[in-house]
Symmetry: C2
Subunit: 361 residues, 2 copies
């Protein structure tokens, strides 16, 4: 380990494989398609691994991510309401070479995509984004979902493919999740029925999120799931009860750079490496989990320093010692890296680029 | 504006010039050297502008940043306790071409730098990092400062140059700052006296931070200041009372991508653009200031979305409308960008690379 500069993000290949396999087995047993969200890894290598593990395609948020992932997947969903001519033109160009869908909640977005698609004689598939309680994006009523679906259906350049929802607000123990997902299932059912009454079919009903992934069978009409974080996992999922520490494939190796303040050690991984994201289910748990010092608490981050409270630790690390951190939220951590180091069984660490990092548009 | 993809970080050149000029005038009037911290802009262009405005050199945190900034400044301070052979070797290599100093708080760090410097027949200047109350890094007592200074003084490859401190914890109104800085001045004086008793001189006494910058004259022995954020400013400084909205040179342009949820609009700038950093002096003020909708509150960020509570706004923006955000903390926002757009008087927006972004090591 000492031969790579720290801080460094290390990905354990065997853990990744296990995480992908577990999701594939679940999806198979319930006949769901898996369309992983590439935002977690942002790397061609892992996108290709997801396809190899049976994914029907990949999900992305931004056009720049779609452009990267189109090199490893021929079926992409942009789960984001793109607005304006620039993203529409870039997506239409992609749609000439891969199956491309966009999930959106407005006529403005749909019409810009349609115009761009027509200009290059392409077709873009549309999923109507339906809010299921998160309150972020998505049409609010079955009537609004129908209205947008009808617009898409009659607009040249577009193909009405179905419905997209994101149950990112559904956390908690399995019983609570089940109740929330059954309610969500009923609401989706209303939309599907209303569409059917008007001669429209939702061939794809796309849900997702890692915390709900293994409860997806409670949503009756669902055809595909879009988990993202499951490939690496993180402390959000550990504290939420959705995975164990052993399931966490991505860890930051950091070096102790100062022990000047008694009862504290300082690491060379600050918010520029770990991000400032708090742990959602355990906001007071600090800025990540230090594997070698489980009693330690990463109390404070500045950009380049982690101040670790070690007063409860039985021993204190020395200057120069390396420690391993499981981040609270792995997605922004990956986005902060130009590359990651992949560990394979018995092989050396392989430096792997994060091609889709920083693609804000 | 519509011709650039959003979200985009726009830098107003005239405001930057004014901010640099104001600091230069203050420093001149008190005979301080200015050694701006390049972490805020991470760009060669702005580093060069700071040198042109009279800075004696630049400050950086990481070795990778030093390597970038060595192309525009021949005098660099790494205000970070580098540990281990890799950073030491890289810095020693730089020290053959530029005046290079490192601020550190441990014998381990100093000895690694010395060994690396000797290997390439270079000399690295050392500043002893002294904790003035922030509790992050820095030796804790005058005795410890003396001990490290003596080690540096007798070690080949190193040159004892002085003392470095960072009063990042000194916020608040001018009266409070003055009291804190006078106390800090007394503590520094004790160290200087102790060194003098042992025949050691602190030629450089380096302080800094933008919030304390214009109060630096209360620290008697100070020779240089290291403000970073002052070049762009941000909502931390506005809410802290250290600058006005007009002084904020760096603003994120974002597009309204959804208005599906009543009373809310959603922007295409999430934590991947704005970072998750809260406003330190006003943690409940939301995730930045929306210039066109001052009554709006950026209530929630996810990676690619800002959910803006617009219930108090007199009018609501339309889908596709662009708005301008002043971030809470500009440094991590810059780090998230591959490039920024610089606006000059009457000229077009110039796409400018952020060469030192992402340099975690």
């Amino acid at each position: 380990m000492e031969s790579i500069p720290t801080p460094a993000l290390i990905i354990d290949s065997a853990t990744v494989d296990r995480n992908l396999e577990r999701m594939a087995v679940y999806a198979d047993s319930h006949e769901f398609d898996v369309r992983p969200h590439a935002k977690t890894h942002k790397s061609k290598q892992f996108g290709a691994a997801q396809i190899a593990a049976g994914a029907v395609g990949l999900t992305v948020a931004k056009v720049g991510e779609a452009e990267v992932m189109a090199t490893v997947a021929d079926d992409l969903l942009v789960a984001y309401p793109t607005i304006g001519r620039d993203p529409a033109n870039r997506l239409a160009k992609l749609a000439r070479h891969v199956t491309l869908r966009v999930a959106t909640d407005s006529a403005e977005s749909a019409e810009a995509l349609a115009a761009a698609a027509r200009r290059v004689s392409a077709t873009i598939g549309l999923l109507v984004d339906v809010d299921m309680g998160l309150g972020r994006t998505g049409v609010q009523t079955p009537g609004a979902a129908l209205k947008l679906a009808q617009l898409v259906d009659r607009t040249a350049g577009l193909r009405l493919d179905g419905i997209c929802c994101y149950p990112g607000h559904v956390w908690g123990p399995p019983g609570e999740q089940q109740a929330a997902l059954v309610a969500l299932s009923n609401r989706l059912g209303q939309i599907v029925d209303l569409w059917a009454e008007h001669g429209l079919e939702a061939r794809i009903i796309s849900g997702g999120s890692t915390p709900t992934a293994y409860q997806s069978h409670w949503v009756e009409d669902l055809t595909e799931i879009r988990p993202g974080t499951y490939i690496f996992n993180d402390m959000n999922l550990v504290h939420g009860g959705f995975c164990t520490l052993d399931d966490c494939a991505a860890r930051v190796v950091a070096t102790v750079v100062s022990t000047a303040v008694p009862g504290q050690f300082v690491l060379d991984a600050g918010s520029k490496t770990l991000s400032s994201d708090r742990c959602v289910p355990a906001p007071d748990s600090g800025h990540g989990y230090v594997c070698e010092y489980p009693e330690a608490r990463i109390a404070k981050l500045s950009e380049e320093h982690a101040q670790v409270d070690a007063r409860d630790c039985q021993r204190q690390p020395k200057i120069g010692e390396q420690v391993t951190i499981i981040p609270n939220h792995i997605c922004p951590v990956v986005n902060l890296q130009d590359f990651v180091w992949v560990r394979t069984a018995d092989g050396p660490l392989e430096k792997t680029p994060v091609e889709a990092r920083g693609k804000v548009s």
